[in-house]
Amino acid sequence: MWAFIHKFGSPPWFFRFASTAVRWLLPVVIGALVFGAVWGLLYAPPDFRQGNSYRIIFIHVPSAVVALAGYYVMASAGLVSLVWKIKMADTAMRAVAPVGAALTFVALVTGAIWGKPTWGAWWVWDARITSMLILFFLYLGVIALFEAYDNKAAAAKACAVLSLVGTVNIPIIYKSVDWWYSLHQPASIKFTGETAIDASMLYPLLVMIAAFYGLFALLVLVNMRTELLATYRQSAWLRSELG
């Protein structure tokens, strides 16, 4: 077990692993995305109240789910980096942040587009979309902090501390935004999101969520590989690796 972790932390081994993984993941992820999108957008039945506009959930929900999970992935990498001082964990953390931020942004934009036909406005201060916005801010903070440090090893440690504090705070933020929303909105207007979703809509949604997890992993690996290429461009092992 320890040998495995040690291997995972070595840049040359990880570079080879990432290269192979990207090659295998790429077709799988594209396939799943196309399959899920076609199923959800063309074959799933229209919603009885929202008609076809609900179909944006096949993009909105997966990106929102993976964006939130991404923050925890980033914080876990930060914890590993702080506790075991594994260099690859720093790289992983740095690679997750922009991907997570991008997914959050996609969730926000699709949420806004969905809002127009549903509520009649591009932006409604609904609890979930507000939480998403704050998650976006949290990602931006980590990215900005990373960029501000000249010493990249210290930058990674600082971002690890920040993302761990964020992890403690995220449940509190989500809960408080929920309460804030219910305090200011009469319950009747509240958009029902927890109603049971029909299997014909659920399965394509699950496929899309899985595909987005794959996409997330793929993008993170590509990012990490690029980072390794930039950091070790002078190293002998990388030159021999690339032939």
Partner: protein, 197 residues
């Protein structure tokens, strides 16, 4: 001889640059060491690594006795506090020091009559002297001093050298960095340029 500090194969990497590598050093009680090296050779970084302030990019093993005093480029004094208060509540402390001891230390560094002056009103050299007054109050055995002679006049330097020697005679040890060649009896020199990678 008690060993107070041991460096085994210590190297330092800053970013992708290796500053030095393979430094071996053993400091026993009673020894006075000067770290020399050109600008950017990593003297300050090595001293901070020894003190435990900056261990990122440091390779090798550093064993340092816990009873240690570190004085960096910055003295760690508050300009809003008086000289007395600064020494009384020095950040590294935690235990009250008797006032008589503080006044004695201030007298040793030539600051009689400035005890209740706010630090911000003193000259740069005088402020350095307040920082050095810690050396007369310290009970630590290993002193790590980064450029202790900076901004100190001739009299002050002589007085400081005396104090460093006295500390070594009393069973302590000193490691300090300095660009100037220092003519003190029994001085040992570690030249970081020899270990440059």
């Amino acid at each position: 001889m008690t060993q107070l500090l041991k460096l085994q194969d210590v190297g330092l990497e800053r970013g992708v640059r290796q500053l030095f590598t393979g430094v071996q050093l053993e400091v026993a009680a009673g020894e006075l060491w000067q770290l020399v090296g050109s600008n950017g050779s990593g003297k300050t970084s090595l001293l901070r690594a020894v003190a435990g302030l900056a261990r990122l990019g440091v390779q090798g093993s550093i064993t340092c006795c816990p009873s240690m005093l570190f004085q960096g480029h910055l003295p760690g004094l508050k300009s809003a506090l008086t000289c007395r208060e600064n020494l009384l509540w020095h950040a590294s402390g935690g235990v009250a020091i008797p006032l008589s001891g503080i006044d004695h230390a201030l007298a040793e560094v030539g600051l009689v009559g400035y005890e209740d002056t706010v630090l911000g009103q003193l000259s740069a050299g005088q402020q350095r002297r307040v920082g050095l007054a810690r050396l007369w109050l310290s009970k630590a055995s290993l002193w790590l001093l980064d450029e202790p002679f900076t901004a100190i006049d001739v009299d002050g330097s002589a007085m400081l050298e005396q104090q460093l020697l006295r500390h070594c005679q009393n069973g302590g040890a000193v490691v300090f960095t300095s660009h100037q060649p220092t003519a003190v009896a029994g001085l040992r020199v570690l030249d970081l340029n020899q270990y440059a990678a």
